[in-house]
Amino acid sequence: MSCKPLIRVQAEDFDPAAEADRLTAGRKDVGALVSFIGLCRDDGGKLAALELEHYPGMAETEIGRIATQACGRWPLTGLTVIHRFGKIPAGDNIVLVIAASSHRRAAFEAADFLMDFLKTRAPFWKKEHLASGTADTWVKATEIDDAAAERWS
C-alpha cells in the first residue's frame, strides 16, 4: 500500500478524468475511487466570478501536510489534490480531490477529510466579483466549516 500524494496549486483548469486514470492505470488493487470537484457556483445569478488569492509555497506545503495525514490515517493507494488560484468564472472548477483505496469507506472518509481541512487550513482566500458590478467583497469563513473540520479530531 503506497500513498504518495500528488499536490498541485495552479491557475489552469484540471482534468478530473486524467487525474483519476493516473490513480488506477495499470493496477488492480484499487477498489474505490472517490472524487470531489468543487465548482464556482453563481449564487442565484448574483456572482460573476471568484478571485482566489493564495500564499504561494505555504499553500502547497499545507495541502501536503493534510494529505500526508490522510495517508497515515486511511489505507489509501493514492491521493491527488489540485487547487486553483486566480479569477474563476461561475461554473468553472476550483478544487479537485481524489482518494483511491482498496476499500470504499477509506476513500470516502479521506476525500471528505481533505475537503474539510482544505477549507479551514489551506491559505486561500476568496473574493466575490458580483454580476451587478457593485464592490467586490471577501468571502467570510463560516463556523460550519470549522465545525466540520472538528469532526475528525
Binding site: 493564495h54 476550483i94 466549516d145
Partner: protein, 83 residues
Amino acid sequence: MQIRYFAWVREKVGIEEETLDLPGNITTVADLIAYLKTVDDNHAAAFEEEDAIRVALDQMHVEADAELGAAREVAFFPPMTGG
C-alpha cells in the same frame, strides 16, 4: 524580518510585503502585532480586529503566543476560505 499580508489584511495595510528591522524587545507574534499597530494608520486599521487575524511563521500556522525565534518570514491573513 520579512512580513507578508494577504486578502483584506493586505488591502488594509496597503502593501503585499515589507521588511522591518524590529526592536529587540519583540519576541512573540503578539509583540509584533502590537508593534505593527504603531507603524501608521493603515497598519492600525488592519490589526484593529486582532481576533480575526491568522498568523503563519515561515509558512506554518501558529498562535499569537508563538515565539518569533529565528523565523525569517511572518504572514498575516484572515481565516481561510479555500476549497
